[in-house]
Symmetry: C2
Subunit: 343 residues, 2 copies
């Protein structure tokens, strides 16, 4: 954080909004009217709108002790865009509301919005509105993201078919291991004053937690290849939980192969160091924001050589349930141990 | 609140969402896909989408000591729809996120959602998605509302013209007086155990605060009369503040007449009882959710006989500033004393 500190109250709500939004330039032709009125206006050209929203609470979803505000802004946008990509849609606009207590300065909000704008730039979306208010305690972020899709090209969770291949993008479990690392270092720091966090050689897992990316590249690949997944969702609560969602909503079962689940070498190494099973981290750890999708076997040739897409199993009959075949040859039922903010 | 108490943790996040959304029936043909996937999908028929969002924080925007949860749900929707009507748009869909602490039960959430659904029904909008999460403290509500407008028929704040008439709907100041009443009764109740709140003959101001309505009827009237205001916004922060917004964004001045500002008889009576000036309550009190709009003088005949629409002044040159002519014949500059959550 910079050394200057301007109190939010010196600007007031409208002053703060003006300050934070004064450099907005729209990137989408469909954005007709943005920040500054009761609502924003979006045009359409025979396309369908896709809408998603997320509410992020300090102390529940993020810890400002080890989360830089700029990264938090960036990630807040990314987690919403990930939901749009998971519908096979192209993000176009976002609205963002924040509630802040008086412990935050204008400079702190600038850092947060730097991250918001960096994500808007990276993904080609326009910030078109929002709400800024005060909070008695803690930082609250609500983002709603809008995207477009050609008529009826959106992909649901409920349309996986028996014998489809189950695929994931990237590596799984990294964000969860990043969280364990940062929580451990936070604990050490709080207990032993003066000890600096040891994050050496942990760039991948720390980055995966603090600055995840949404899989725009994968959706663009689908469009280039004219490949439409039969079902898709993003992996925010852990692979097991998401596979079970697709199974339940599609009325099917699934078989996963442990040895096909992609785990990054740095994740494996850190998992072993903590005496954790890397596969368990991939199955139950959240926040990877990779895509889980199913495709017809006929489309296998289109993806088999693609770096960053792994076939990890297949869709089975509903009566077979959802199971995983371990390296040792055992078969276990998948259980949803994903993150639950109410447990 | 009912006597049963089911812990939210007994349902979990997905269980709670299923429970709260299981009876949704869509009312708009444009709603293609609603709750239950990564995002919702909306179709278009050569219309433009209008988007608005609001974040409501317990302890800042509402006090659960005197706000029934069902009313809170209803009002949360209404305040967003009011922003869409203020754009001359027809609301079609909402997404809603809530964060709750474990002091809320499933039954409490049911009451809150009863209010949400009652508003959806009343205004013909579909609830199509959202997010439900936990909060360390306090109840947080974020709603994003989407509406439709025929191409380029939306009405901005920045397009008022010199000599236009300034109009408002309904009565002003009532919600603020309702707030003063309920805060007074809360204080008495807390200081003197056993004393029940005295709200007799205060239905209008209490209702205006706890269960406001958005002016759907006025927008429908505009459509029937083919009347397009030159500028419009809703009155959420007090008349003065909103007139100043229109002046600033349109680059104009304004003259208001104190004796034309509509104040309900019950508001007047209670204001006098508190030794407050009813006009000051109308100018600076917030949360009325009436519409402030400007029309060309040529359209005066269309509104002059309409009950519930008052002409309160006219748009002047920018250099004349924004002023109010009092009953006593004095001229005062308008000052924004609207509600500011950061002050």
């Amino acid at each position: 954080m910079s050394e200057e500190r301007t109190e939010i109250s010196s600007l007031g709500e409208f002053g703060l909004i003006n300050h934070l939004t004064k450099n907005i330039e729209h990137q989408n032709a469909s954005t007709i009217l943005g920040v500054g009125d009761d609502a924003a206006v979006i045009d359409h050209f025979g396309r369908q709108t896709v809408v998603t929203t997320d509410l992020l609470m300090e102390g529940v979803h993020f810890d400002l002790m080890y989360t830089p505000l700029k990264h938090l802004g960036y990630k807040s946008v990314v987690v919403n865009l990930s939901d749009l990509y998971a519908m096979n849609a192209t993000p176009t606009q976002i609205v963002i509301s924040v509630a802040i207590s008086n412990r935050f300065s204008v400079e702190a909000m600038d850092e947060f919005y730097d991250g918001i704008y960096a994500a808007c730039e990276e993904y080609g979306v326009d910030l078109i509105g929002g709400d800024t208010t005060s909070s008695q305690k803690g930082f609250v972020i609500s983002i709603t993201a809008l995207g477009e899709v050609a008529p009826d090209q959106y992909v649901k969770r409920s349309t996986a078919q028996v014998n489809d291949l189950i695929c994931v993008t990237g590596y799984l479990g990294g964000a969860y291991l990043g969280l364990l690392l940062l929580e451990r270092e936070k604990k050490i720091f709080l207990e032993t004053k003066g000890v600096q966090p040891d994050l050496e050689n942990r760039d991948y897992i720390v980055g995966k937690l603090l600055k995840p990316e949404a899989r725009k590249d994968v959706i663009e690949f689908f469009q280039r290849e004219a490949l439409v997944p039969t079902a898709m969702m993003d992996i925010s609560d852990g692979l097991s939980s998401e596979v079970l969602h697709i199974c339940k909503q599609s009325g099917v079962g699934a078989v996963l192969y442990e040895d096909k689940i992609p785990v990054h070498p740095e994740s494996k190494e850190f998992a072993y160091k903590l005496e954790l099973d890397p596969t368990a981290c991939a199955l139950s750890g959240g926040e990877d924001y990779e895509l889980l999708f199913t495709i017809s076997q006929n489309d296998y040739d289109k993806i088999k050589e693609v770096e960053g897409i792994s076939v990890i199993g297949y869709i089975a009959e509903e009566k077979e349930g959802a199971t995983i075949l371990t390296r040792g040859g055992n078969r276990h039922a998948l259980v949803a141990q994903g993150w639950n903010s109410f447990s």
